[in-house]
């Protein structure tokens, strides 16, 4: 059985936290450059210029792209033939978050308890960690820090089967229109359809780990992604101060659901669509 030292996981996660915070993925950067060509609002063009310049400075100088370096979401795919030695998997991941956020001068934005005390844990732990056991002997790590300006505008709607495609569109648009200019557009919108309430929410998060250039492999969902993007770009929200570029992409993921249900979850991401993936 293949073995991997927990320390290696810690080091890798630490490095990924820093890279995610500093380097905007190329697909998002290119989508913003493309949007700059088509944006017709002068103030929207100005905002896009500043955001594009910001990405270039962050990358050139190893600085956080946004001061909200997020709550750290980590997706783990653990091969069932892999043996982790020298510590517990979740401890190793959290140690990596702590190391990366401290060494990388990233903001520590996590409070240990949400309602009564709200005391900052001072190292951005714990992360939100999802672990899936898969075939093989590898460990796939995805680090996706999530800012809360946009997270606070995300939402979920429990539809019924009769609501259909139009119902899904209306549910998504209700959430987008309510979010308006607050989640730092241009947004990237993750939509999870199906499952249970919690599964739909998770699917909407997983949707945001996909490139903005990659459409859902099922044609019906790819078409829905395009239609939703068009609707969102008709809202006038634009790049924060009004315009045509409200969103760069809509990524939809779906899962099996109950005969009585049609859950729809929407995770809104700001233009800081940060994620890093590595296989150990």
């Amino acid at each position: 059985m293949r073995e991997i030292d927990a320390k290696q996981i810690t080091e890798t996660v630490a490095q990924m936290c820093k890279e995610a915070a500093y380097y905007l993925p190329d697909d998002v950067y290119n989508a913003m450059k493309k949007a700059r060509e088509t944006e017709t609002s002068p103030v929207g063009q100005n905002v896009l210029d500043q955001i594009i310049r910001n990405a270039e400075i962050a990358k050139a100088e190893d600085r956080p792209y946004c001061q909200d370096t997020g709550m750290t979401i980590v997706f783990l795919e653990v091969g069932q033939d892999l043996h982790i030695t020298g510590g517990l998997l979740e401890d190793a991941v959290n140690a990596g978050i702590s190391k990366g956020y401290t060494e990388g001068y990233l903001r520590k934005s996590v409070v240990g308890e949400p309602l009564f005390n709200r005391v900052n844990t001072k190292d951005n732990t714990p992360g939100v960690i999802y672990t899936k056991i898969v075939a093989g002997d590898k460990l796939k790590i995805t680090v996706a820090p999530k800012g809360f300006g946009s997270e606070n505008k995300s939402g979920i709607k429990m539809l019924v089967p009769a609501d259909g495609v139009e119902g899904v569109k209306k549910a998504v648009m209700d959430i987008i229109l309510h979010a308006s200019m607050n989640p730092c557009p241009p947004m990237v919108v993750g939509v999870g359809i199906g499952g249970t309430m919690d599964r739909a929410a998770l699917l909407s998060k997983l949707a945001l780990t996909r490139s903005v250039d990659e459409r859902n492999p099922m044609p019906e969902y790819a078409k829905l992604e395009g239609e939703l993007l068009e609707l969102i770009n008709q809202t006038g929200i634009g790049p924060q101060l009004g315009g045509n570029t409200s969103a760069l992409a809509v990524n939809v993921e779906w899962g099996p659901t109950h005969i009585a249900g049609l859950p729809v979850a929407v995770t809104i991401c700001c233009h800081a669509m940060r994620h890093k993936q590595r296989v150990l």
Binding site: I57, A58, L106, S109, N120, G149, L231, I237, Q240
Partner: protein, 188 residues
Amino acid sequence: MAEQIRIQTPFTEEMSRKLKAGDAVLISGEIIAARDAAHKAMTEALARGEKLPVDWQNQMVYYLGPTPAKPGDPIGSCGPTTSGRMDAYTPTMLEQGIKGMIGKGSRSKEVVESMKKNGVTYFAAVGGAAALIAKSVKKYEVLAYPELGPEAVARLTVEDFPAIVVIDCEGNNLYETNQAKYRTLKGY
């Protein structure tokens, strides 16, 4: 973009009342950073009849929690946070003499009413342009609540900090007018 208006703080009501929604400005001088936890602490202190650790008369508040500074830098990345979360505390804070607010996103009706009454201007900085904005910050000094870490109240010395007036003292709102201008959506 129209010509940018230069503003030197302190920011008086007279200066504030001259600005109109849509004006692009470059702010120089001192501004004060405060966000969620500091707003809660300050309004609770006022409710107890205590004096605030900062004199807010003719000040601009910046809704900000920066990343830590790298060695040799005055500040880390420092873009605006969502202003709406401060709405519950804002009318109380505006009574303390604040004349300018810098953040991002919409404000409540109560905040706009208080802005009109007190002659306060609300500016937006570009959300997420945090590494770029850091270039205009020359100095960062914690003034109060150091235990709050990134949420501490701090004085920023800025040079040509770029912002846009989104809600002026009369309640004109650039977000609303510009969104309506570019909106073609039907049926939702």
